[in-house]
């Protein structure tokens, strides 16, 4: 038991220190998401936009995936590919990364690639990091197709698990010293009851 308390406390301290910047990032981006009216962070109005058309020789016989990779390679762009639409004479898709978005339209008959790009300011980039996981709500079986999306999602999973550990470890530490803090049990119960109300009870009444 002494060993458990010793390592639990040590891990709580050092994992907390390790996560410091991640907690700040997700806290600030969470506040930005919940306060869209904060003017200093109004990133969408301040986005930079650019449009361009590039002529390109498109080899016949390429399937949609091959064409997509070829165009992205030639334009030297990378990111999470979404909104893919394919027709007989055109191919549309979007390439996104936190703070950047690019809609591409490939005209197969003319051999041109039109791009509409936008870049958000630093607040926009911070905010997008909060939600950037490559998950398509309408197609939950679809996997992230950009390796960096997968890395970031893995990092988010890791941070979430580490935060769960920090919570559990704090209860273990508190339990040992609970008698020294008169109102601590009441405070913990108040937190639990409030969250239990929001997660379970609210939909029953």
């Amino acid at each position: 038991m002494k060993n458990l308390n010793f390592w639990n406390r040590k891990l709580h301290i050092h994992l907390g220190l390790f996560l410091l910047l991640f907690i700040w990032l997700f806290s600030i981006s969470g506040l930005l998401l919940n306060h869209g009216s904060w003017e200093f962070a109004s990133f969408w109005e301040q986005r930079k936009q650019k449009e361009s058309v590039t002529e390109m020789t498109l080899p016949a016989g390429l399937d949609s995936a091959g064409l997509l990779h070829m165009v992205m390679g030639k334009l030297e762009i990378s990111g999470e590919v979404t909104n893919v639409k394919y027709s007989a004479d055109a191919f549309d898709f979007r390439v996104g990364s936190p703070g950047f978005g690019r809609d591409l339209h490939i005209d197969l008959a003319k051999g041109t690639v039109s791009q509409k790009e936008y870049e958000l300011n630093v607040w926009g980039k911070i905010r997008t990091l909060h939600t950037f996981n490559g998950v398509d709500k309408n197609d939950i079986d679809k996997q992230a197709n950009w390796v960096i999306t997968q890395v970031w999602r893995f990092a988010m999973d890791g941070i979430a698990v580490a935060l769960i550990f920090l919570c559990v470890s704090s209860w273990i530490m508190w339990y040992k010293i609970r008698k020294d803090y008169n109102w601590s049990a009441a405070v913990l119960i108040a937190g639990f009851l409030t969250s239990f109300y929001f997660v379970y009870l609210i939909r029953m009444f």
Binding site: K10, G30, S97, M156, S170, Y181, G191, F192, F198, Y200
Partner: protein, 201 residues
């Protein structure tokens, strides 16, 4: 500075204990957001139920939100109106509570109402709470009292979490036995954090 340690330790403990259940909501919901397929396997969404009814005296000559609010009041349904679709023939909107989605569609010519209710379960309740109030439909967000309360709670949790990080650093710094290794933990976090941002941008 050491004399502030006892006070800071108490605040760290009390604030920390209070927000741990909320931090669990935010953390578990991250896993649900990132792995929706697994959550569907773990907790499949139950089939929705449909109810039909008829209302009278629905005020269409006002804002979309007030019309929707009048409808849910007559139907005795409570919750946050997520967004509203309205045209000449019908008005349709989802009313949400954590883990419970009620879709309401009203035929404006006949005042007949179709209510579709879906119990989405506790996991999706967590993701709903995580995403509220959020960045979408800002103009109508907070049209229910529980979201107004949750908005304040979510902010309080974030500010307390920020306080906990600062007080935690302070408390660690005065623990001589952990000081050296603590610098290593901060440096490791800094390196991984910076590396991740560098590969993303």
């Amino acid at each position: 500075m050491k004399r502030y340690c006892a006070l800071l330790r108490s605040l760290h403990l009390y604030f920390g204990l209070f927000i741990t259940p909320f931090v669990l909501i935010f953390s578990i919901s991250v896993l649900v957001f990132n792995h929706p397929g697994f959550i569907d396997f773990l907790s499949p969404i139950k089939p929705s139920t449909e109810t039909r009814t008829k209302l009278d005296k629905i005020p269409y000559d006002t804002t979309d939100l007030l019309t929707a609010k009048a409808i849910i009041e007559k139907l005795e349904i409570e919750g946050e109106i997520d967004f509203i679709n309205q045209n000449d023939d019908r008005i349709s909107f989802p009313v949400k509570k954590p883990g419970l989605k009620t879709q309401i569609t009203v035929n404006k010519h006949t005042d007949s109402v179709l209510i579709t209710q879906q119990n989405e379960g506790a996991y999706r309740a967590l993701t709903f709470l995580h995403s509220m109030p959020g960045a979408h439909n800002v103009k109508i967000r907070g049209n229910s009292s529980y979201i107004q309360v949750w908005r304040v709670l979510a902010d309080v949790v974030v500010y307390l979490l920020l306080f906990l990080t600062i007080s935690g650093v302070f408390l660690w710094y005065f623990l001589k036995v952990e000081r050296n290794f603590g610098f290593f933990s901060i440096a490791l976090g800094l390196i991984i954090f910076t590396s991740l941002l560098l590969i993303i941008f």
